[in-house]
Subunit: 228 residues, 2 copies
DNA sequence: GCAAAAGTGTTTATCTTACACCCATGT
DNA sequence: ACATGGGTGTAAGATAAACACTTTTGC
């Protein structure tokens, strides 16, 4: 009757680009079970490392990336979720700017790639479910915490932010009202540059001032970004 | 280098009474480590049971109660949180009407009791931290989901709900505005009874209509109970 | 000069807040 | 009759929503 359960971590890492929308990072498994299936990066926790450390290590080992935002998502522990042994997975949720890294399959993975969340292949284990939970978390979190910025370039045109919110919340939002609301929050600042991506008028660039955000937050200031 | 980590569940079960405020269920440990310390009910997950089942079982075994609301809270996995082996605890968050049960220490616990969250004794392991996270979750969740009703009698005077929200959010709320908002949500219904607890005019009793709530929720209806 | 994307204010409607007195009961 | 807790509406202020034309660039 001795307990025989293993503990792993998995990471749902989201990226974004105005062309591809929201993407998720997947690896192709090198070994059984689910050999050659796409799956979330992750693996067993080592005896001496924290859960977070395990996630960072696995992301490094399997995909060669380093997220700039990470939080715990949920622990998945159904007895039958792994066909071999019982494995409880502490799933995490991460955000990264895809352009910051060149993906490279490392030791444990045969391949790594970004997939649009609209076209996710069949996945190993219960990883599809985990992604669904993560997407829900992303959608709900983005309305009350400024995590969207972690997905955009450090300096970005305002329209990127607009598109990100539209893609995530898929409601048409009024550009003028959106800008008013965001600017009223007080932590977005204009940098003195412009960017032109294709045609059209060049866009001013903006930057998320994280320090200012935390100052405002400290002062008991609270405001949802959107109520809709 | 084989993984040597155990998996446990712990439960932060909240109760409420208008006199005592928010209370948390604790047990006094029978065995080492932390023998005779107060601690959260919980214990190792069995090989064949789900995490939720483990929580229900432990609550039954240690305190003789059955919660009517339960959700996963967070997994605590710092390598040093248990002095013996490494144990990862999947903490849960539960709500119960204290009057529904007579607490009774069972096999693994020497004692069980409710403690006001204002007077929590020194606890075993990192359980104080876990409770802090749970309180935060309770406070934040009660503003956007009607979980408060799980803490009140099935039929309750409106003032109980008022007091619950005041205690939790500790802001003075306007009784008239509060009632308007709650009633506008459309899932609280008057039952045709009154209750008199001490002096004063007898209070009408109300009931949370869970079915109506889920109907409204299905229809894409969303509304925060409070923004403050 | 026209297509493409960025930039920008005002008015109206809705929602939130502030506020105070009367009612029904027990003692 | 008074103390205790329960019940109730309205007006002012704040916030969100609706709405469309001009600007700057590349081709």
């Amino acid at each position: 009757m001795k307990q025989d359960i293993k503990v792993s971590v998995d990471a749902v890492v989201f990226g974004y680009s105005p062309e591809e929308g929201i993407q998720v990072l997947l690896i192709k498994r090198k070994y059984e079970p689910f050999q050659k299936s796409w799956a979330l990066p992750g693996g067993l926790v080592l005896n001496e490392e924290s859960l977070e450390e395990a996630v960072h290590r696995e992301l490094q080992e399997e995909a060669g990336i380093d997220v700039n935002y990470l939080e715990q998502l949920y622990s998945f522990g159904q007895p039958a979720r792994d066909p071999r042994n019982r494995v409880i997975s502490v799933a995490h949720f991460g955000l990264v700017r895809p352009d910051d890294y060149q993906l490279s399959a490392q030791t444990d993975a045969e391949d790594v790639a970004w997939f649009s969340i609209k076209r996710i292949p069949r996945l190993a284990f219960d990883h599809k479910q985990i992604i669904d939970v993560a997407i829900k978390r992303l959608r709900s979190k983005i309305v009350y915490e400024p995590i969207g910025f972690e997905l955009l370039d450090k300096e970005f045109p305002f329209s990127d932010l607009e598109k990100l919110y539209q893609v995530l919340l898929d409601n048409d939002l009024d550009r003028r009202n959106f800008k008013k609301r965001i600017m009223a929050l007080g932590f977005l600042e204009e940098v003195n540059k412009t960017l032109q991506r294709k045609a059209g008028r060049p866009a001013k660039l903006y930057r998320f001032n994280k320090k200012k955000y935390f100052e405002l937050k400290e002062r008991g200031y609270h405001s949802d970004l959107f109520y809709s």
